[in-house]
Amino acid sequence: MKKILSGNEAIARGAMEAGVRFASAYPGTPSTEILETIAKEFPQIHAEWTPNEKVALEVAAGASYAGARALAAMKHVGVNVAADPLMTLPYTYIRGGLVLVSADDPDLFSSQNEQDNRNYARFAKIPMMEPASSAEAKDFVKAAYRLSEEFSTPVMLRTTTRISHSKGIVELGEPEDPAEASLERHPAEWVMLPANARRRHPVIEDRLKRLTDFSNSSRFNFIEINDTSMGIIASGAAYQYAREAFPDASFLKLGLSYPIPDLLVREFAAKVKDLWIVEELDPFIENQVRELGIECHGKDRIPLCGELSPDIVRDAVLGAEKKGAKPLNLPVRPPNMCPGCPHRGILWALKKNKCFIAGDIGCYTLGFLPPLDAIDTCLCMGAGINHAHGMSKVLGDGKKKIAAVIGDSTFFHSGMTGLLNLAYNRGVALIVILDNRTTAMTGAQDHPGTGVTLDGSKNIDIDMEGLVRALGINWVQSIDPYDVAMARQKVKEALEQDGPAVIISSAPCALLPSRKVPGVPLRVDADKCTGCKVCLAIGCPSIEFKDKKAIILDTCTGCGICKAICPFDAIGGDV
C-alpha cells in the first residue's frame, strides 16, 4: 500500500516497521513530528518527551543496553546538548539498535544557527545516513537498525527541513517483531573508566575501517552512469536538486555519507571528466573526497550558506549570473506573538522598568521584533539566565537593571542549572520564568511542568515556586502578566533586591484550551482615542492604525493588555 508521508512521518513509520520499542525526543523544529507521529499512530512503541536532548539520547541508550531497538530524535542544535553521551556511546557495546535522528535546518527557517550535523558522525566515528526523500527516510531507518546491530554502533540519520517537512509517496511495509528486552551485564563495554575506554578506542578505529568496506558495498551508495563529461557526488536533498538541474550528468549518490565509500568514489572519479560535489552547508563529502587525493569542484562554487535548490545548483555550477528581475520591495510578514499572548504584558513591564533583557529560545524571542524591541540576547537553550549573571557580576551586582526571560519548557530543558548557579554564586539579577504551561513555539507539546506525557496521562505536578525555592532562590513571586500594572510593580520590587529574584509570569499560552483570555474582542472608543500610538508599542497583530485612530480587529482575544496601557482609557469592552 502506498501513502503520502512527510519525511518525519516516514521516519516514525520506519521505526515501527523496524520493531523499535522505545523513542524519545525533546521537541524542536523540524524534528518534532517524528515523536508526535509515533505517539499518535504507533502506541506499541513507548514514546516520551524528555526534558532535553541529552536525556533523550541517554534513555534511548538505556533501552538499547536492555536489548530493545531505540530511537532518539532532535533538531540539529539539540545534538549539541546530547553531544556528551554521543561522544562516548560509540565506545560502548550497542546491544539493541540505536538510531539518533538529527533534523538540520539549512536556511534557519526556525533555528539559531545552521550547523551541519554530519560533522558529528565523523567526530563520534559513527555511520551517517542521509535520506533524500520520504521513501528513503523510511527505508534508511530500517537499514540503520541493521547497521547499528551488525556493527554495534549508534547510527546517525540526518534529515534537513526539506526532507523532514516535504511529503512524498512511501510504500508501506510489514513490521518486524520487536526484540525481547532482557537484562545483561557487560561491564568491560559499558563502564567507561579509562582502563576500559582505552581498550575500546581501537575497537572504534577498526570498526570505522569495516564500515568503509560496508559503505563500498552498500546499496545506499550507487553510481548512475550517463553523460560522463560531468559527474556529481551528492547526498540528501542536494542530490534531488542536482539530479533535476543536470538530468544528463552521471551521479554517485551517497545514502551513507560517512564513512564515504573510498573505492566507489575512486571508480566514479575515474569514469567522469569533471567531478562535482553538490552538498548543502559544509564540504563534508568534499573534504573526504579530497583526502583521497581526488580533485573536484564543490564549495569553490556551491554556496556554503543557506539551502540549495535546483536553480541555485544550476547557476552555481554553470557560473551563471543570478538572473531575474530586481526583487520587489514588499511589506514583510514576520512571525509575531499571537493576539492575547501573555508574554506581551510581562515584556512590556520589563521594558518600562528599563531592563536589559537577556532572552532565550521560545515564542518570547519574537519580542525582539519592533515595536516591542524587548529582547537583547538569544544564544541557545538556557543561556539567558547565565548571560544575566555573567553581565551582572562584571558590571557590579545591582548596578544595572539586568533581567532574563525564559519559558517554562526551556527552564526545565536547561534553565534550572543556571538558576542554581545564580543562587550559588549569589548573582543579582531578575529571572522571569514565562510559565505558559506548554512548549508553544514547536506547536504546544507538554513537558515535565504540565506533568502530562506523550500518551496523555498525567504523572506529576511540578510546583514551580517550590522548585525555584529549592534551587536556592529566596525572593520568588508569581504574577498574572495580563495585570500589567501589577507586573510592572513586581518587576520594580524584584530589581530592588540585593540578591537573585525570580518572577513566575503565570498564564497559559493563548492558543491552549486552558487559556485565560475571554475571547471577546475589545473596542476603541474613537472619541477618546487621541492617536497617541501607545497601544501600538506592544506589537499586537489585532491592533491597526487608520485615519489617526487605533482600531481593534476581530482577531482580538480581549486579553486587556492594550486597555491597561492606554493613557486615555479609550479601549473598552469586557475584560
Binding site: P30, H165, K167, P334
Partner: protein
C-alpha cells in the same frame, strides 16, 4: 505540473495542498510537496509547493517553473512571481490581510493587481472568502480555491471530491464539497 499555494497561517493552505497531493497520487503520478510551516500559527507567510509528473526529484519548485500560483491572500501573490513560468496561471483570492507594518500605518498595502499585470495577463480574482461566508463557514475558502484550481487541472471531479472527503472530518465534509463545487462554477 508545478503548483504553488501561498497565503498566511490559518487559511488552510497545508490541508489544501495535502488534498492536491492525494489527488495527484490517485491519478498515478509521482508527487512531492514541500512547505514551510512551524511559525505559521504566528501570522507568518505560508507557502506550499506541490509537484507531480512521471518522476519528481526536487520537492521545491525551481524559479521560473511554476505552472499555477494559487494565492489565498492578495499581497502573498506578489512574493512568488519569480517562480512563474511564461504562460502560468495565477488565481488570487480577493482578500487582504494587512501585514504589521501596514496595520500600524508605516507602509502602504501594495497595488498587487498592478504588480501582477506587469508580469502576466493570465490571472483571475476569486471571491473565495465571500463564497465561503455565503455557505456559512469562512474556513472552507480553501475548498473554494481548490474548486477553481481543479478547473485548470485534471477534469476528474470524482477523485477530487473523494480526496476532500478522505482528508476532512465528517462534520465539515459536505460543506467543503459544496465549497469545492462553488469554486468550480467560478469563471
Amino acid at each position: 505540473m508545478n503548483v504553488i499555494m501561498a497565503g498566511v497561517g490559518g487559511q488552510g493552505i497545508i490541508l489544501a495542498s495535502d488534498i492536491l497531493t492525494e489527488v495527484a497520487m490517485r491519478h498515478g503520478y509521482d508527487v512531492k510537496k514541500s512547505e514551510i510551516h512551524g511559525m505559521a500559527q504566528r501570522g507568518g507567510s505560508v507557502m506550499s509547493h506541490v509537484r507531480f509528473s512521471k518522476q519528481v526529484f526536487s520537492p521545491i519548485i525551481p524559479r521560473g517553473e511554476c505552472d499555477i500560483l494559487l494565492s489565498f491572500e492578495e499581497l502573498e501573490t506578489a512574493r512568488y512571481l519569480e517562480f512563474l513560468k511564461p504562460g502560468a496561471w495565477i488565481v488570487i483570492n480577493r482578500y487582504r490581510l494587512p501585514p504589521p507594518t501596514v496595520s500600524i500605518g508605516k507602509e502602504e498595502y501594495p497595488d498587487v493587481e498592478g504588480i501582477v499585470r506587469e508580469k502576466t495577463q493570465r490571472f483571475m480574482f476569486v471571491e473565495a472568502d465571500n463564497i465561503a461566508l455565503s455557505l456559512g463557514n469562512r474556513r472552507v475558502l480553501n475548498s473554494v480555491l481548490l474548486g477553481v484550481l481543479s478547473t485548470l487541472l485534471e477534469p476528474d471531479v470524482a477523485t477530487w471530491e473523494e480526496c476532500i472527503a478522505v482528508k476532512l472530518p465528517e462534520k465539515v465534509r459536505d460543506i467543503n464539497i459544496q465549497a469545492f463545487r462553488k469554486g468550480r462554477e467560478t469563471k
